[in-house]
């Protein structure tokens, strides 16, 4: 079972590395969205500092969703999906592997870039570790819940907008606790409570989301 997980992650990541747009696009999108906010709202450091956690999180959600849209589409078209469903291991390790691979090309770079953007948006330096930590706990949930939406809409012809509509309401807790932890840290308050809840959500989501992805794929390929 672990072999199946590893071989799909390897397959996904080698495909992502071969095609630059696969891993560069989400990062570029994340960067552009973050840098548009000061232009659209206000460049006043006090205002930006207040908004920074929300800006970083919303940019991460949108950039993550953008790249999820194709998460299952290619493999549906070339027939890999139906082969996953009929392997001895079942679809669970594949769902988990696809979530992990998506996180590697979105959540992981966002997490590494966020402290720089946080700094540019005027967040105090002492809060930057919490920025990283909050994204570390939250972005895997983004990938996991998004994968459910992608699995449900991946085989449909115009599924992109639909996927965003299905998935965004599920991101509310992510946004609230993630941005809140950064907020508290920026104000010099302890952020452990919000981070702990994010962690709990992460564990439950990682256990259950692959099941939902598998069930979705089974239904959609029937």
């Amino acid at each position: 079972m672990f072999d199946a997980f590893v071989s799909l992650v390897r397959r996904d990541l080698s495909a992502a590395v071969n095609i630059h747009s696969n891993w560069l696009m989400p990062v570029a999108f994340f960067t552009v969205v973050v840098s548009l906010f000061p232009l659209g709202v206000d460049a006043d450091p006090a205002v930006l500092r207040r908004l920074a956690p929300g800006i970083i999180w919303i940019a991460a959600l949108l950039a993550g969703l953008l790249s999820l849209e194709r998460a299952f589409k290619d493999d549906f078209e070339n027939g890999s999906l139906e082969q996953w469903l009929i392997t001895p291991h079942g679809v669970y390790p594949f769902a988990l592997a696809r979530i992990f691979a998506h996180w590697c090309i979105t959540g992981l770079p966002f997490m590494l870039l966020a402290p720089f953007y946080g700094y540019l948006l005027g967040m105090p330096v002492h809060s930057l570790p919490v920025v990283v930590f909050s994204l570390a706990l939250g972005t895997p949930v983004l990938s996991a819940l998004g994968a459910v939406g992608a699995a449900l809409t991946g085989c449909l012809r115009r599924g992109e907008m639909l996927m965003v509509l299905l998935v965004l309401p599920f991101y509310v807790p992510l946004l609230v606790f993630g941005a809140n932890a950064m907020d508290l840290a920026a104000a010099g308050l302890p952020a452990e409570a919000a981070l702990a809840i994010s962690g709990a959500i992460l564990i439950v989501t990682l256990l259950l989301a692959p099941l939902a992805v598998g069930a979705s794929l089974r239904v959609m390929l029937d």
């Binding site: 071989s7 890999s80 001895p88």
Partner: protein, 214 residues
């Protein structure tokens, strides 16, 4: 109880609310193969997808060596290999990389190491483009590549949906010899086909025509 056979009893299936087949009974022993024929839309693909566990039948049951995908999913899929219309190969990866991926998924391999198992695929005449990305292959080449999974993985029941489409005479000949060798080993196969497929010395034990007896 004969555990070495595929037993289908009273199977019924439909598609988009249209009944395709009812009361289908079939017994296929190890070493036998069944040709599934019928007009377009008669339900050949639907039947194969049900037998490989992708779709569900409306009624009836089936077992291969006493296993059913509803109850023993993992063990059933160790035994059964389905090659459909779509290759299942990722276009940006090479043929060898795709074969390596499939040979690591829990079915028995033709050889101990992945590399040796992949070299077994040479028998399908694909040695020349093992390292070519699948996007650059022609339809026939891609079909040969996906069928070479039959050499790399060891499954006892083959479910093949129109395997001859896109193959040249040489490819058809190789497929027929491959099928004969599989039957020789005691395996069985259900093959949906339009053209005649004649594995040497192994005529089809059954010819299932869909879309007529309903």
């Amino acid at each position: 109880m004969d555990n070495g056979s595929l037993k289908v009893s009273n199977l019924a299936f439909s598609r988009d609310g249209r009944m395709l087949c009812e009361g289908l009974d079939l017994v296929l022993r190890g070493g036998e193969w069944c040709a599934v024929t019928g007009a377009n839309g008669a339900g050949k693909t639907t039947l194969l997808r049900i037998l490989c566990g992708l779709s569900e039948a409306d009624a009836g049951a089936f077992h291969w060596r006493g296993l059913s995908p509803a109850l023993e999913r993992g063990r059933y899929h160790e035994q059964v290999l389905y090659i459909g219309h779509k290759s299942g190969f990722r276009s940006e990866l090479s043929v060898a990389a795709n074969l390596a991926f499939y040979s690591g998924l829990g079915r028995a391999r033709a050889a101990d190491t992945v590399a040796q198992a992949i070299s077994a695929a040479d028998d399908f005449g694909i040695a020349g483009w093992l390292d070519t990305p699948c996007a650059k292959l022609s339809q026939g080449q891609l079909r040969r590549a996906s069928l070479s999974r039959l050499l790399v993985e060891r499954a006892s029941l083959w479910l093949l949906d129109e395997p001859g489409v896109g193959l040249d005479d040489d490819g058809i000949g190789r497929l027929e010899r491959l099928l004969a060798a599989h039957l020789e080993r005691g395996g069985a196969a259900l093959v949906a086909t339009h053209g005649a497929l004649a594995p040497p010395g192994r005529p089809a034990a059954h010819n299932l025509r869909l879309g007529e007896d309903v």
